[in-house]
């Protein structure tokens, strides 16, 4: 199985300044009673995007998400904390995001995001603060070079776990790579039994 290879891209940001945005915010649990991964975009940040009557809150920065030119989410520290639900990256991707930038991103969310082509980008505190203060700014993300460029003169590096990065750049699914270790797995099982 292969995915669309992850290419360098430029887009505008949507900023959520809150720290510790948990996966219950990203996709509330009431949307998890599904056996499919499709259709979760509607539930993405539902209670942030919709009022009690189910109308889109125009004042929410997330109201720009579906326009197509705001594919980068900038958020406060410890983004994606909480549950292991992979529904969180599925929902963000379907809403139109291609990358999340924060000072730090929670481990399980990061791992899930990488497996689905939603790029988690952890930047230094200064760049993070600049991005938090400048919603809507254009940002260029290059996974090959592991660089983030904001405007003309602000470029910073980030690091993605090398194997996940390779998989994203080549459009390869890690399960294929894991299956190639079947021989080693058999040897391990035989040695233990």
């Amino acid at each position: 199985m292969s995915f669309e290879p992850f290419r360098a891209f430029t887009s505008k940001t949507i900023v959520l300044r809150e720290e510790n945005i948990d996966t219950d915010q990203i996709i509330p649990a009431r949307f998890l009673t599904t056996t499919s991964r499709a259709g979760l975009g509607r539930g993405a940040f539902y209670d942030w995007r919709y009022d009690d009557a189910g109308n889109l809150r125009n004042e929410s920065p997330l109201s720009l998400a579906e326009q197509g030119d705001h594919a980068i989410l900038v958020a406060g520290g410890n983004f994606g904390c909480g549950s292991s639900r992979e529904h969180a990256p599925w929902a963000l991707l379907e809403l139109g995001f291609k990358a999340v930038i924060s000072s730090d991103i929670a481990d399980i969310f990061k791992s899930n995001a990488l497996k689905n082509g939603l790029l988690p980008v952890e930047v230094d505190a200064q760049t993070h603060q600049f991005l938090l203060n400048n919603a809507g700014v254009g940002v260029a993300i290059d996974l090959e070079a592991q660089s983030v460029a904001v405007g003309e003169d602000r470029t910073t590096e980030f690091r993605v776990e090398p194997f996940a990065r390779r998989c994203l750049l080549d459009g390869v699914d890690p399960l294929g790579a894991l299956l190639k270790h079947t021989g080693a797995i058999e040897t391990y099982e035989a040695a233990r039994s």
Partner: protein, 474 residues
């Protein structure tokens, strides 16, 4: 001479199928894969699409717990699911398990319960094992000296297909609780005190080992509560070296080794300790004797304080938002806050000892008028044991509801939830905005604190209730 190793190093090394390199994470073997209805269906779909089989159905167990109703069958004999989708999800788990030859603890099975309660009580959870589940509270199983962590659905598929995951080795962190706990203070208070100290991301990238006298003094159930909350500090796993307490628990479990295999297993399990002088990347010391009964006052588990303290002033934008959501005024005593609902349950605090503590507080007392109290045992086995002791009668006499086992109001995806604006004192693990229902305000606490709050109708210090019991010679 080999370098001294941590417990975590030992667990990790035993399960490396292919070592980590700069280009590739380690291939790590998984001894026990627990699956539930919410995070597994999409993984089975991938296997089906790719024509792959479940490699080790014998190391996989299915449990229905998240979407399941906690009310009994209705007059038509139907289970009152929250929605047709919830029912379909539970049925899909049943079908996926049947097709792939996976043992299932489904609706009506006497072994069913919350996945993190069931594994340990059957003895499926054992020292030295690697255990994963598509659920972040899988860290619970580390209480037995296992390496246990939550995974996403893609990884559930990986484990189904290969019995392995790709993993980079996390850093090792040790949290030592020195000294002894004061009366009325328990494992939940220890967990909240630690998270308040190190922050909701204080354990990020780390595997935590809990050590110290106060940890050694905990029952297995208390140890599970402590390890369970590791993820609320950002750590995917928490663990405690096995000891006589661990072996005594397992000796009574039907799926633990028996006969000659038992002696051999215990001999091996005794080696699962951090060696003298083993190095940790991070060390945290906590004086257990200074821990009070704890509650949370914000929308992240690290916003935790002693129950007899007052609401602190917010320090930044996120805290301003939390204060506005919780509607607590800075300077107000927590114990002045009126409570609408109490939830005693979840993989954190729904085991027999949790229910015994809550029952001791509620015995001969009444739940405050107008307040709803829900008690949800962690499993069918916990329910049977509690009923055999008459705990259900104590809860019902006090005016609390006694329900069927499941995750219930911890994740509120089965229909059990609070009403908008409710203040809920909950023994669960997350106080996130909307977690227990839209606009519900969650205060995390121990079973003793939750039960005391149910009686008074305000957030309450449990110690006076427990002191009365002590004075009566109980």
């Amino acid at each position: 001479m080999t370098n001294p190793s941590t417990l975590f190093d030992k667990l990790w090394e035993r399960h490396v199928v292919v070592p980590e390199t700069e280009e590739s994470p380690a291939v790590l073997y998984i001894d026990l894969h627990l699956i539930h209805e919410v995070t597994s269906p999409q993984a089975f779909s991938v296997l089906k699409e790719r024509g792959l089989k479940v490699r080790r159905p014998d190391l996989t167990i299915g449990v229905a717990d998240h979407s399941t109703p906690t009310l009994p069958v209705d007059e038509n004999g139907d289970l009152p699911y929250g929605s047709p989708e919830a029912k379909a999800q539970v049925e899909a788990l049943g079908e996926n398990c049947a097709v792939n030859g996976i043992e299932l603890f489904g609706m009506g099975d006497p072994r069913r319960g919350i996945v993190h309660v069931v594994g340990p009580e059957l003895g499926l959870t054992q020292p030295g094992k690697t255990i994963v589940c598509g659920d972040s509270h899988t860290s619970t199983h580390g209480a037995f000296g296992a390496l246990a962590f939550g995974i996403g659905t893609t990884e559930v598929g990986h484990v189904l297909a290969t019995q392995c995951v790709f993993q980079r080795k996390p850093k090792a962190m040790r949290v030592t609780f020195e000294g002894a706990l004061a009366p009325g203070v328990g494992a939940k208070d220890m967990a909240l005190a630690m998270i308040a100290k190190i922050g909701a991301d204080g354990g990020q990238g780390c595997a935590i080992e809990y050590a110290g006298d106060a940890v050694r003094g905990l029952s297995m159930e208390g140890r599970m509560t402590l390890c369970n909350m590791s993820i609320e500090a950002g750590a995917r796993s928490g663990m405690i070296a096995p000891d006589e307490t661990t072996f005594a628990w397992l000796a009574a479990c039907e799926r633990a080794p028996s006969g000659d295999a038992w002696a051999k297993a215990v001999e091996d399990w005794r080696t699962l300790v951090s060696d003298e002088g083993a190095a940790f990347d991070k060390e945290v010391m906590i004086d257990a004797s200074q821990i009070s009964p704890m509650i949370t006052y914000g929308v992240s588990p690290d916003a935790a304080a002693a129950v007899d303290a007052a609401m602190p002033a917010p320090g930044n934008e996120s805290e301003n938002k939390a204060v506005a959501y919780m509607d607590f005024k800075p300077g107000d005593a927590f114990t002045d806050q009126a409570v609408d609902r109490v939830f005693i349950g979840s993989c954190t605090n729904s085991r027999l000892s949790d229910l015994r503590t809550a029952a001791e507080v509620l015995r001969g007392r009444k739940v405050k008028d107008g307040l709803t109290a829900l008690v949800v045992p962690g499993s069918e086995a916990v329910r049977r044991a509690a009923e055999a002791e008459g705990l259900d009668e104590i809860f019902k006499a006090a005016g609390a509801e006694w329900r069927e086992p499941g995750c219930s109001m911890c994740i509120a995806m089965n229909g059990d939830k609070g009403a908008p604006g409710d203040l809920v004192v909950s023994t669960s693990n997350r106080n996130f905005i909307g977690r227990q229902g839209k606009d519900v305000r969650t205060v995390l606490a121990s079973p003793a604190t939750a039960a005391a709050s149910a009686v008074t109708g305000k957030i309450s210090d449990p110690r006076p209730f427990l002191e009365t019991l002590e004075a009566q010679g109980k």
